[in-house]
Each structure stands twice: as structure tokens, then as C-alpha cells.
């Protein structure tokens, strides 16, 4: 087996039968230390995703999550599941930490298979983890967590998969299906995170010169993180109501985008997608290709969302009513909103027969990870319940 250990113990040497309680104080303490280490890391400023992770791991936030997870039902005892095998995504560097921490807090032992395309951020994270695991108070955790790498076709994949009680699988649709075909035990649970896209809806009626900059900043935060290639970044903007300040909004976002160091190929990618959609008759108004590119669509085209080039381009689709957002298909994960009442959105969800749309969040927080992701409750999926009557 060509398995390399990057942090923690070798999977074969993991301490058996040493599961913790859910929300075990020792594990919460580890998360606190991890949070501090990330927030104080000398390179943290260069990598805002590390800071975001550090904030997410704050004790107060984790306690909030614990409360929301609702385990205090009498007669219902939440217990760990066992060994959880994680397949981390290749390019969204910090994502694997979030789902790993959810599993950690449920008391499980973990093996995390990282992509072989190690990035700078992954390297920094592994350094931090190794340092924490070497501390005497965390040796117990080091024995139950392995961060490893092995080739896709390595026998390690099958042998670990057979031992796992749950598999957390990040990847494209094909990769996820390939991993799910690996042999596993009859009671093994799969938690697949596949290709998704996201959208946002803006009601222009509420937009004026006093709040325009704030919306531009929130929108930009959602768009530019991970070069807009994360599933939760909006690719299509639905526009309701007045278009009076719309151009001003685009130029405010463009100003924010001006400082971004994009890839050289970026604008050509935008040109290819805009000409492709124009030629195909999917766009009937000129595209604005620039620091922030806006490409008007004359309807909903699933192909346009699948072939989105990222790097600061949004499709624009005008709608007459909020319920029109339900033309999105079940691949849509997150809907950001601005200028729209939360109650209206709840109303749409209750009345429209839609699939997908598993997160509806204010614009500006699309990338904030939560244990309720892709329609799943990670805490529930990564633990089991015993009923005591």
C-alpha cells in the first residue's frame, strides 16, 4: 500500500475502541487550540480562509452548534458511530477540516484522505495539526485521527473503506460515484458532497446609494472566495424590481474586484462562455466583461451553470416574482438573498414543490460552513442514537 501519513497516526495503528462522547470536553479543547493556532498563525493574513476557519472553530460558536444540534431529548443518547473515512476535495483547501471537525465532535475516529495536489494552505493546516497532535494533552486524539494520502487506485482505498462506519465523500459527481463503488460494510453510511452550484436573488427596490456599497462588499465576498469555484458561490443572480442602481452596483463590485490577482486566462474564459451563450441564443443582451463580468441570460440554462468559468462572472436573470427562483434545478445548493424578507422565502419554500435549495442565506454569508450542509445534518449522520426507555 502506497499510503503516506501526513498527520496523526497510521490508520493501522489507531487505538481501537477509544471512542469519546459526543461533544467531549477534550475534543472541544482541541478545537479551541486549533482555533487559536489558526488565528495567530503568522501566515493567516495571507489566507483569509484560515482565519474564517479559526473563527468558525471558536468555542462559543461550537457551543452554539451543540445547542442547535438538539441532543438533550430525554431517553435519547447520542453516541459516536466509529471510524469515519473522509475523502477531501482537491481544491477547496479548508473544507475537509469542517467535515472532519463535525465527525471529531461526534466522538469518532477518523481517516482523512487528502488530495495529492497539496496546496500551500493544506500544508499550513497539516503543520498546525502536527504541532497540536504532539502536545501531551492531545496524544489521545492523535491516535484516533490520521491524515493520509494514497493514489486513487491504491488497495488502501478498499481496505479502509471496508473498515469504515461512514464515508464522507467530497468530489465531482464521477469521483463520488467511483468512491461509492468501493467495497464497504453493510451498515456503512455515505455522506456524499457532489457538484452543486449556487444562486442569489436581489430585490432592486431596496437598493439606494446608502446601502449599495455594503451590498457590493457582501456580494463580492461570496463571489471571489476560491475564485468563485466553490459550490456555494453564486453563479447566477436573479434580479427583482427596480434596475435604477443596478449598473452602479456592478461598477462598485468591479472596483472591489480590481485588486484581485486573477489568472491570465480569465477574461478569455469569460469571452468563450459569453460568445457560446450568445451564439446559442441564450443571451439577448450584451455581456459586460471586465473586472466583474455580468452576462445576462434570457432564461434558465442548466448547461450555462455546469460550464461556469468562475473568477468573477455572474449570469444575470431578471424575474418578476420571487417564486420565479424555483426554476432552479435540484443541483442548486445555496440561494443568497438581499432586499427580500425571510418570511417571503419561507413562504416560497412551503408552497413550491422544489428540490435542491438547501441553504437560503443572506448575501455575504454563502461560504460560511454549517453542519447542516447539502440538505444533511452532519452531526446526525455522523453519530447514532440509542433510545433508553
Amino acid at each position: 500500500m502506497a499510503l503516506t501519513v501526513l498527520a496523526g497516526k497510521h490508520p493501522d495503528q489507531q487505538g481501537k475502541c477509544k471512542l469519546s462522547r459526543c461533544f467531549d470536553p477534550g475534543r472541544l479543547a482541541f478545537c479551541r487550540d486549533l482555533s487559536n493556532a489558526l488565528l495567530r498563525h503568522p501566515k493567516a493574513r495571507e489566507h483569509p480562509e484560515l482565519v474564517a476557519l479559526g473563527f468558525w472553530l471558536r468555542d462559543s460558536h461550537l457551543r452554539q452548534l451543540q445547542q442547535k444540534s438538539g441532543t438533550d431529548s430525554p431517553g435519547l443518547v447520542r453516541r459516536p458511530l466509529g471510524l469515519v473515512l473522509h475523502f477531501a476535495p482537491a481544491n477547496v483547501d479548508t473544507l475537509f477540516v469542517y467535515s472532519w471537525v463535525c465527525s471529531l465532535l461526534m466522538g469518532n475516529s477518523n481517516v482523512v484522505r487528502l488530495s495529492s495536489q497539496a496546496s500551500v494552505v493544506t500544508g499550513l493546516l497539516l503543520d498546525v495539526l502536527n504541532e497540536l497532535f504532539s502536545r501531551p494533552e492531545h496524544t489521545g486524539l492523535a491516535e484516533q485521527n490520521s491524515f493520509v494520502n494514497f493514489p486513487h487506485d491504491d488497495p488502501a482505498a478498499s481496505s479502509l473503506s471496508l473498515q469504515a462506519h461512514a464515508r464522507v465523500i467530497w468530489g465531482g459527481d464521477d469521483a463520488v460515484q467511483a468512491i461509492r463503488r468501493l467495497p464497504c460494510g453493510p451498515r456503512c453510511r455515505d455522506i456524499p458532497f457532489t457538484d452543486r452550484y449556487s444562486a442569489a436573488v436581489i430585490n432592486g427596490d431596496g437598493l439606494d446609494s446608502s446601502n449599495l456599497q455594503s451590498l457590493a462588499e457582501r456580494l463580492w465576498r461570496d463571489v471571489h472566495t476560491y475564485s468563485q469555484m466553490a459550490c456555494s458561490s453564486p453563479r447566477i443572480l436573479f434580479w427583482l424590481g427596480s434596475t435604477l442602481h443596478r449598473e452602479a452596483l456592478w461598477s462598485a463590485v468591479g472596483d472591489l474586484a480590481g485588486g484581485e490577482a486573477w489568472e491570465m486566462a480569465r477574461l478569455n474564459e469569460h469571452l468563450v462562455v459569453s460568445q457560446w451563450l450568445e451564439a446559442a441564443g441564450a443571451s439577448e443582451a450584451p455581456a459586460q466583461l471586465g473586472q466583474f463580468s455580468v452576462l445576462p441570460l434570457s432564461g434558465f440554462f442548466p448547461e450555462a451553470l455546469k460550464n461556469h468559468p468562475g473568477q468573477g462572472l455572474c449570469y444575470l436573470c431578471e424575474i418578476d416574482e420571487l417564486t420565479d427562483v424555483t426554476i432552479l434545478d435540484d443541483r442548486c445548493q445555496t440561494l443568497g438573498y438581499w432586499g427580500v424578507e425571510r418570511e417571503q422565502l419561507l413562504n416560497v419554500l412551503e408552497t413550491a414543490p422544489i428540490r435542491g435549495l438547501e441553504r437560503i442565506v443572506p448575501i455575504g454569508s454563502a461560504l460560511e460552513f454549517s453542519p447542516w450542509w447539502d440538505g444533511m445534518d452532519l452531526f446526525a449522520h455522523l453519530s447514532c442514537f440509542t433510545v433508553v426507555q
Partner: protein, 371 residues
């Protein structure tokens, strides 16, 4: 085709005919532009009226329908030929469909040719290459496998290139076998027959490198084609990956093949016929019926001489498909106009290789970044 466009067709044909009569490199850029701008503008109108996809892109993406400079003409991103079927003729008039090999994971580009466009392409190629190779047909060693031409259904750009160039040679000898290994018997036979005579060796740059130069070096052999010319074309991407530059390729080709002249040209499946040949100074030259514009990759505005950017290629030959003005994904630098030391007039430039594609980022690890 609309009434007016076809009415102007005769004018187009007459002006195009005038281009053939001149040497491809004698006109100054100003004189040349005055000749080809009306032709390119006519092609713009022709494709707007005959190809609805082109019409929509040109109308939505480009300001003015009347262009006075090369730089103002609409252009299509060359990748569109991989994504769409773009043609300006009825299906019944399609004479052959050219298909690029296409990189893994992408559909190949398709270029639809009617008889007239195909003829213009051959004529263009002859016009340009006769200048470098002379009018006599030379014994020709083709650095490829005969299998590449065998599959008639799949008319690949590689096959088309070989077929187009075959016109300049006789006694066509394939240097490689079906397994892309040197066919030593054929090569030696060719050498014995034509030692000391002018010959033409043609192949795609990477094929010549990988399947002829490297095997020759590995076997310690040299060919003695000292009166030969090696004509090669095609991407440098794979050679760049192996850290082989232009000069090194040339030196090692000269040594292994024994040839004195090594001539590179730049061209693409989407504009067969209008090729840009390298001069003695190592510069690529635009012939009279084609031209280049370099654009800044960050805003697509035209770049001045000396500034690297994305290469746009223009050609008056594509009638059956909207390929007269294409934005390539190759990086190049315009080196000057009318003042190359070789004496050729018009624009000259150099190619710097493919523009690096954006790094794929996303929650998925197999998704190859869309289109």
C-alpha cells in the same frame, strides 16, 4: 444569403483575385489593409447573414457594424468551434468537415468546408509555401504514419495538414510505421534514392521531435539529407514541457536529419491555408490575405508592438464557416510592421506558446473547469 450580400459576392471575388496576383509579402501594411479590409468587412456581413450564431455574437458583443480597422472587426473565440457547429452554407454544400484532434476531455473542433473554401485554402497554401520551397515538387519524407490518412470518416487536422502539404512533394514516403516507430527501411530507401538532392521533410513539430529526432539520437544515427528542408508546424506545448526551446529543436533537427534549412510555420485547423511562415530571422510573417492582431489578455484591447498578448488571426479565405477573424488561445508578440530585416513587408510576430489555462478550483476534484 441575402440579396445584397450575394450581389457583392462578385466584387469580393474580384478583389480576392487581385490579392493572388501579388507576391504575398511585398505590400506595406497600409496598402495591404486597404486591400483586405473591404474583403474582411464583406466576410463579416456575409457570415452575419448566413450564420445566425455568428450574427448574434457580432451584434451583441461588438459595438459598430462598420469597422474601419482590422482591430475593430468582430472576432470569435476559437474554442467556439469545439462547442458549436458553425457554418455559413447549407448542409448540402458541405464538401468536407475538418476535425481537430482535440485535447483529452474536450470535443474536437469542427470546421465545415464547401468546395470553394477548400480550393481557396489550397491556393493560399501554395501561394505562401512556393515562396519558401520553390515551384518544383520535391521528393517528400512525411514524418507521420500512413494510418493518419487512412480513416476517411475522420478527416483530422493532422491528416488535412499532411494532405495539404503533399501537394509540394512527390514520391511521398512515410517515415513512421503504424505504431509511430521509425520505419528504418523506408527512411533508408528514401536516403539512398535522394542523397545529395533537394528534398522536403514535413511533420508536426512534436511528432518530428518525439518520433524521429529522439529515436535517431537514441540509435546514434544521422540522416544525410544535407540538401533537404525540414518544414514543421504545430504546438510547442509538449516540447515546452520537456524544456526544449526553438533553437535547441532547430540545432538537433539539423544534426539528426542533416538538413540545413529548418522552417517553422504557424497555422490552425480553423484557418487552414493561411499560414504564417518563419523567415530567416526567425520571425513569423503575415501573408497578404491574412493578418494578426495581438490583444491584452486582461481587457482584450489591441496591444502595441513589443507587448505580449493573445493572438487574433484574420484570413480572407473562410467563406463556408465564420472563421475569418478568430481570437486564439496562443500568446504572441507583434514584433513590427514593414521593417523585418528579411525584407518582407506587413506585420511580423512571434509565438510564445499556449496561454496557461486557469487552475481548476472547486469543491470537486474531477471537474475539469467547464467548457
Amino acid at each position: 444569403m441575402s440579396e445584397t450580400a450575394s450581389g457583392n459576392r462578385e466584387l469580393f471575388d474580384r478583389d480576392l483575385e487581385a490579392l493572388w496576383s501579388a507576391d504575398p509579402y511585398v505590400l506595406s501594411q497600409a496598402d495591404k489593409q486597404a486591400l483586405i479590409m473591404p474583403l474582411l468587412s464583406w466576410l463579416d456581413r456575409h457570415h452575419r447573414s448566413a450564420c445566425p450564431e455568428y450574427e448574434r455574437v457580432a451584434r451583441l458583443g461588438f459595438d459598430s457594424p462598420v469597422a474601419s480597422r482590422l482591430e475593430d472587426l468582430p472576432y470569435l473565440a476559437v474554442r467556439l468551434f469545439k462547442l458549436l457547429s458553425l457554418k455559413s452554407v447549407d448542409d448540402s454544400e458541405i464538401f468536407k468537415t475538418l476535425q481537430s484532434s482535440g485535447t483529452t476531455g474536450q470535443s474536437p473542433a469542427r470546421v465545415f468546408l464547401d468546395r470553394r473554401t477548400s480550393q481557396l485554402q489550397s491556393r493560399g497554401l501554395v501561394k505562401i509555401l512556393q515562396g519558401s520551397l520553390g515551384k518544383a515538387r520535391l521528393p517528400m519524407l512525411i514524418v507521420d504514419s500512413p494510418a493518419v490518412l487512412r480513416d476517411r470518416k475522420l478527416y483530422t487536422a493532422r491528416g488535412a495538414g499532411i494532405q495539404g502539404l503533399s501537394f509540394f512533394g512527390r514520391d511521398h514516403t512515410y517515415a513512421l510505421d503504424e505504431a509511430m516507430q521509425p520505419n528504418w527501411e523506408a527512411i533508408e530507401g528514401f536516403m539512398d534514392k535522394y542523397a545529395g538532392q533537394p528534398v522536403l521533410v514535413f511533420g508536426f513539430t512534436y511528432m518530428v521531435w518525439l518520433h524521429l529526432i529522439l529515436p535517431l539520437e537514441a540509435e546514434g544515427r544521422v540522416l544525410k539529407l544535407d540538401q533537404g528542408t525540414l518544414l514543421h508546424s504545430g504546438g510547442w506545448k509538449k516540447l515546452e514541457d520537456q524544456k526544449v526551446g526553438h533553437d535547441e529543436f532547430m540545432q538537433r533537427a539539423q544534426h539528426s536529419l542533416g538538413v540545413q534549412r529548418v522552417t517553422n510555420f504557424y497555422g490552425m485547423a480553423e484557418q487552414v491555408g493561411s499560414v504564417f511562415v518563419e523567415c530567416e530571422r526567425g520571425h513569423l510573417h503575415a501573408p497578404v490575405f491574412a493578418d494578426v492582431v495581438v490583444r491584452n489578455p486582461s481587457d482584450l484591447t489591441p496591444s502595441p508592438v513589443g507587448e505580449a498578448g493573445l493572438l487574433q488571426v484574420l484570413s480572407v479565405l473562410p467563406l463556408s464557416y465564420p472563421g475569418h477573424s478568430l481570437l486564439t488561445e496562443d500568446l504572441g508578440t507583434l514584433l513590427g510592421e514593414d521593417d523585418c530585416a528579411c525584407g518582407r513587408k506587413g506585420r511580423y510576430f512571434q509565438i510564445l506558446g499556449r496561454m496557461p489555462r486557469a487552475e481548476v478550483r472547486g469543491c470537486s476534484d474531477t471537474h475539469q473547469g467547464g467548457l
